[in-house]
Symmetry: C2
Subunit: 321 residues, 2 copies
C-alpha cells in the first residue's frame, strides 16, 4: 500500500465540491477534567453525518467515465453505505449496497434517501462479503470497499489535513478504529504534516481486534464483537493494519461504560449528536488510556447517526451491546 | 433606544476574545421539504450553549473598573444567567443570579459551574424582579437585565453580523422571541447590513405575547405561558418591542407539535443538540408560517441546553408544556 500525503492532497482537491469542511469545536469545560486542551473535529456534522463522505466521494469521483457508468457497490454496517449512495447520486450512477439486517435504522433510511439499491444479509463478515461478491458478478459494478481501498483511505485522511490546517500544533490525534480506513488516512496525514504528533487509535474493549493485532504479530479476526459502537464491529483490514504498524503510535481500548459516559458528556457539553463509535476516542481520554495533561489533543468525531426514537444509552437501565 | 450598527460592531470587537465565532451549517436534506435553501447559525454551539454569551460579555466588559468591582446581578430562566456568571468569572467579579425554582436543571448546573451566586424564587415575572431588586439593594451590584439593556441587545446582534459576513445574500433571517433581545439586535444588524432581507421573529403560540403586542397597539403581558420552549416564556421588553416595530417585518407563531417535530429533525439531520426554544424558527418554516420556497433563509439556533436524562420530547406520549 503506497498511501502517502500526495494521494490525500489529491483526494482533498477532488472531493472539495462534494463535502463540508467541518468545524472544530474547543473542549471548553471538558478540558479541566483531563488537564489538557481538547479540540474536536466535527465530522459528525459532515454530509451524511460521518467522515465516510470523504472516502466515498474520492473513490466515486476517481473513476473513469466508462468505469463509473457500471455503478459502484459495497458492503457496510451503515455510514460508508450512505456515503457511497450519496457520492453515486452526486455523480448520477447506481450504488448497490449490502447491509447487515441488524444495521441501525437511521443508517438504512439514509441509504434509501440517497437512492441506494439495498440488499440485506446476515451480520457476519463472511455473509457480507459473499453477498457483495454475488452482486458485483451480477452488475459489473466497481467495488468500493469500506476501508481496504486506497482511494477511500486517502479520502478519510482529508479530515486530519483540515484539522492540522486549523490547529497546526496538536500534540496528539485520536480517532476510532473499525476497519482502519480513518486510522490509516489520519496516521499518514499526521505523520507527514506534523511528525512530532502522536497518532493513537481507540477501540471498544468488546471489539479489540485491531489493538490485539497491532500489539501482536498476526491479524486477529473479530468474530463476536460486543459493543454499542456499531461502526467499530468489523475486523481491521490487512492493508490498514500494515499502515497502522508503520505510522500509528499506539492503539488503546475503552469500556462500554466509558463510551456511554463520553457520549453523554459530548452531547451535553459540546451540544452535538455523536453516535457511540464517535465517542470512543474521548472515552479513552476519560478513562486515562491517553495521557492528555498539558497536551493539545485533537479528537476526530467520526459520526452522528443515531436512532433518536430509542431511549438514549445513558437512560437505559442496562447498556445493550 | 438608540441601538445601531455602530454599537453592535463595538460589541463585536469587545467580546471577540470571550466568545466563539459559531459555525453555519447548511440545511442539506432539510431544504427539499421547504423548497428553499436553509442555513443555520449554530449559537447552540456558543460558549455556555447559547447566544446569551454575546450580550452578557458585552455588558460585563463595558463596565468601568470601579463599577465592575461591585459585581453584576440578573434574573433569568437560565441561559442569560449562565452567560452572565461566565462573563463575570472571566472578568473576576461576582455574579448574583436570581432563577425561577422551575428552571431547567442543566441551566442551573451551568450557573453553578461558572461560579454564579444563586437565589431561587417563584417563576412569575413579578417575583423575579422583586427578588432581583432586593439583591441589587443589598449588594450594590450592576443590573444586567436579560434583554431590556442596550449593551445586551448590541451583543446579541453580533450573531447576525457574523451570519451576514458568512452569507451576505440571505433573503430572510429568522430568530426566536422571548424578551426580544436577540430579535432587537438581529433586526438592527440585518436592517443596516442587508436592507433587502426580511427579519421575522418566531414565537410559540402558547407564549404569543410578542406577536400580539407587535400586531396590536399595546404591549400584552405574558401571564400564563404554556410552551415547552422554556427560554421564550417571558414578556417581550418595552424597548425591544419598540425596536421590533421599527425594524422587524413580521412576527409569527408556531404550535407545540411543530416545535417538537422541528427539534427532532434538527437533531437527526443537522446532528446538533438544540433546546426547544431554538427549534421555534425552523418550526415556522415547517408549518408554512414563513415563505421559504426559492429563498435563502438564515435561522439562528439560539441554544442547546437540555436535560438529557429526561426522555426526549418526541418519545413522550404527551408533550408537556
Amino acid at each position: 500500500m503506497t498511501l502517502d500525503l500526495a494521494a490525500i492532497r489529491d483526494a482533498h482537491e477532488r472531493i472539495r465540491p462534494h463535502v463540508t469542511r467541518t468545524p472544530v469545536l474547543a473542549g471548553g469545560s471538558l478540558d479541566a477534567a483531563c488537564g489538557g486542551r481538547l479540540f474536536f473535529k466535527c465530522d459528525n456534522l459532515q454530509q451524511g453525518g460521518a467522515f465516510k463522505a470523504r472516502g466515498a466521494a474520492n473513490a466515486v469521483f476517481s473513476l473513469s467515465a466508462a468505469d463509473a457508468a457500471r455503478g459502484v457497490a459495497t458492503h457496510s454496517s451503515g455510514n460508508h453505505a450512505a456515503a457511497l449512495a450519496r457520492a453515486a447520486q452526486l455523480r448520477g450512477i447506481p450504488a448497490h449496497i449490502v447491509m447487515p439486517r441488524n444495521a441501525a435504522r437511521p443508517k438504512v433510511r439514509l441509504v434509501e434517501a440517497y437512492g441506494g439499491r439495498l440488499t440485506f444479509c446476515d451480520s457476519t463478515q463472511e455473509a457480507r462479503e459473499r453477498t457483495c461478491a454475488a452482486l458485483l458478478a451480477e452488475t459489473g459494478a466497481n467495488l468500493v470497499h469500506p476501508f481496504e481501498d486506497e482511494r477511500v483511505m486517502a479520502g478519510q485522511g482529508t479530515a486530519a489535513v483540515e484539522f492540522l490546517e486549523d490547529l497546526p500544533d496538536l500534540d496528539v490525534v485520536l480517532c476510532p478504529v473499525g476497519g482502519g480506513g480513518l486510522l490509516a488516512g489520519t496516521a499518514v496525514a499526521v505523520r507527514a504534516l506534523r511528525p512530532a504528533a502522536r497518532v493513537i487509535g481507540t477501540e471498544p474493549a468488546g471489539a479489540d481486534d485491531a489493538a490485539r493485532s497491532f500489539h501482536g504479530t498476526t491479524r486477529v479476526p473479530m468474530t463476536d464483537p460486543r459493543t454499542i459502537a456499531d461502526g467499530l464491529r468489523t475486523t481491521i483490514g490487512e492493508p490498514n493494519l500494515a499502515l497502522a504498524r508503520r505510522h500509528v503510535d499506539d492503539l488503546v481500548t475503552v469500556s462500554e461504560a466509558g463510551i456511554i459516559a463520553a457520549m453523554r458528556l459530548l452531547w451535553e457539553t459540546l451540544r452535538v449528536v455523536v453516535e457511540p463509535s464517535a465517542a470512543v476516542p474521548y472515552a479513552a481520554v476519560l478513562e486515562g488510556r491517553v495521557a492528555a495533561a498539558g497536551r493539545r489533543v485533537g479528537i476526530i468525531l467520526s459520526g452522528g447517526n443515531m436512532d433518536l426514537d430509542a431511549p438514549l444509552p445513558w437512560t437505559r437501565t442496562q447498556p445493550s451491546p
